[in-house]
């Protein structure tokens, strides 16, 4: 009897020690995010509970994000993060929280992750076609994280056509078009916005920007004329003066004119 009690006590002690060792080990390990199973599999296995499955995956992912220690490179979990956001949004497109978290954490990691974010946001835009915020995220990712201002301009152009769209979309379309080298498209947007605007202060600002865009467009036309004559673009804008343009416009303060042959861009300083 005493021997049996002794063996039992030893067993309990051993269990406790091994358990503590395991706990210690798991505390030292960095938290990891597991890649969620594919959407179709989740649809089949969860059935009526598929919305809950998407919400549980969201909670699991957000808890992981909250526990990432400072200094852990985000690239180490970017793939799992992108996959999980894609799975939860495909599983339950009308659940809005994942889109916000995805935008907050994913696009800043790399241009590829920004592309993934935009693919996820496309699901959100399809589910909420009148949501301005998702469209804003979608457009800004193109120029902030992917360096594709013209794609951003296209996204904002579509967003600006929505009923009651904020004027910001049209303005961003104009700015991004100019930044991407399509100054003429930006000018058209600005003129459209000027026609629709009633606030005098804002109208004055648009008018000022239109003047700058028109000056930049003259330079663009001069570049085209130079190319028509010489078969190639000039190395610098100064070569345009005086044959193709009398004087180069003095664009400063709100915009800067940037020439990377053959592209002419109008950028915010």
């Amino acid at each position: 009897m005493r021997l049996r009690s002794g063996v039992f006590s030893l067993l309990i002690t051993l269990y406790g020690l091994i358990f503590l060792a395991q706990e210690q080990q798991s505390q030292n390990q960095a938290p990891s995010l597991q890649i969620a199973l594919p959407v179709k599999f989740q649809h089949i296995t969860t059935g009526y509970l598929y919305q809950l499955a998407a919400e549980m995956l969201f909670i699991k992912t957000s808890v992981f994000l909250g526990g990432v220690k400072p200094g852990v490179p985000s690239a180490t979990y970017a793939k799992a993060l992108g996959n999980n956001f894609e799975v939860m949004t495909s599983l339950y497109p009308r659940f809005i929280d994942p889109y916000y978290f995805c935008q907050a954490f994913l696009p800043h990691i790399s241009p590829d992750d920004a592309r993934k974010t935009n693919a996820i946001l496309e699901t959100g835009i399809k589910a909420f076609p009148r949501d301005f915020i998702f469209r804003f995220f979608y457009g800004t990712n193109y120029f902030l994280s992917m360096n594709e201002p013209l794609m951003g301009a296209k996204a904002f152009a579509e967003a600006a056509k929505m009923p009651n769209a904020p004027p910001l979309f049209g303005h961003l379309e104009a700015l991004l078009s100019a930044k991407g080298g399509d100054i003429a498209a930006g000018l058209v947007s600005l003129k459209t916005m000027l026609a629709a605007e009633s606030d005098e202060v804002v109208r004055a600002r648009y008018q000022h920007e239109i003047e700058i865009f028109e000056q930049a467009l003259q330079v663009r036309e001069a570049l085209t004329a130079f190319e028509d004559k010489h078969g190639s673009f000039p190395g610098t804008l100064d070569e345009l003066v005086p044959d193709f343009i009398k004087v180069l416009p003095d664009i400063k303060d709100s915009f800067t004119l940037r020439y990377d042959p053959p592209n002419l861009r109008l950028e915010r300083p």
Partner: protein, 275 residues
């Protein structure tokens, strides 16, 4: 006819009493309450879509509880009666086997209805409580009682369809474990088939081969798409409301499906060797 209904009602009452005696109702309600209490912690992790998530969670718990009832209680009822020779006592009375099957169905359906009604009532109170505890204008704008009732009716209809299929398998197969496995397989085929059909449509650039499409359509008539009865997304959201046809037809089809499967279950049970 009246006597027949009375006999069915008597068997139903026995099934209900047996269910209550086995704590099928109170046990599952306590289980659901524990789940819902735990779920209150769950809502803390949802920053924006609180209404939608809490509603999904409550309906999921109700579904889970109904599923447990069907797979761990309903699956066994006919097998218990057979194993304990209670069935022979029943059938020694002037009651047909079809009446016995219908009696079991209505008895289990009543317990299930009570379970859903109690959990639905608790769920509605919990939803209102959550709505009052958050900034409803930002995080819980919509909560509709008619859609809540519609979603509950859809859920109950799904459970009845599953119950009818369980009774069909119980009549066709001996032993509760094979019935459990068959019922689970049936459920997974029902959940998987719409995914297969959708995947087929996406994979084939042109329209899928007509024979395949027709075959899958036919299989869907046997293994119905339960998602057509899933209206829980309408309860706490501004999601587009489906047309009247999209709401009524699944219920009509569901009722007809239950009728057909019960008919088959009765027919099979008439020929069943009870040894």
């Amino acid at each position: 006819m009246f006597k027949c209904l009375r006999r069915i009602r008597s068997v139903s009452r026995l099934v209900i009493v047996d269910g209550l005696r086995r704590h099928a109702l109170i046990g599952l309600i306590l289980f659901a309450l524990a789940g819902e209490t735990g779920g209150l912690l769950f809502f803390d992790f949802i920053p924006r879509d609180i209404g939608r998530a809490s509603n999904d969670f409550l309906f999921s718990i109700t579904w889970l509880v109904g599923f447990i009832f069907l797979l761990f209680h309903a699956v066994q009822v006919m097998a218990w009666d057979n194993e304990r020779r209670v069935l022979h006592t029943f059938l020694a009375r002037p009651i047909s086997r079809a009446e016995y099957v219908l009696g079991v169905f209505f008895g289990l359906a009543t317990v299930l209805l009570a379970l859903n009604a109690i959990l639905g009532g608790i769920g509605w109170i919990v939803l209102n409580f959550i709505r009052r505890s958050v900034d409803a204008s930002s995080y819980f704008q919509h909560l509709s009682l008619p859609f809540f009732l519609l979603a509950s009716a859809g859920l109950y209809c799904m459970e009845l369809m599953l119950l009818a299929v369980i009774l069909f398998f119980s009549g066709a197969v001996r032993g509760n474990f094979p019935v459990l496995l068959l019922s689970l397989s049936y459920y997974f085929i029902c959940s998987g088939l719409p995914v297969v059909r959708q995947a087929l449509r996406q994979l084939t650039a042109q329209a899928p081969p007509p024979y395949l499409e027709t075959m899958l359509k036919g299989v869907t008539a046997i293994f119905p798409d339960f998602s057509r009865l899933d209206f829980k997304m309408l309860v706490a959201s501004s999601d587009p409301v489906p047309g009247v046809g999209q709401i009524v037809i699944p219920f009509v089809l569901g009722a007809m499906y239950v009728l057909i499967v019960l008919w088959l279950a009765c027919a099979i049970y008439q020929r069943r060797d009870l040894q």
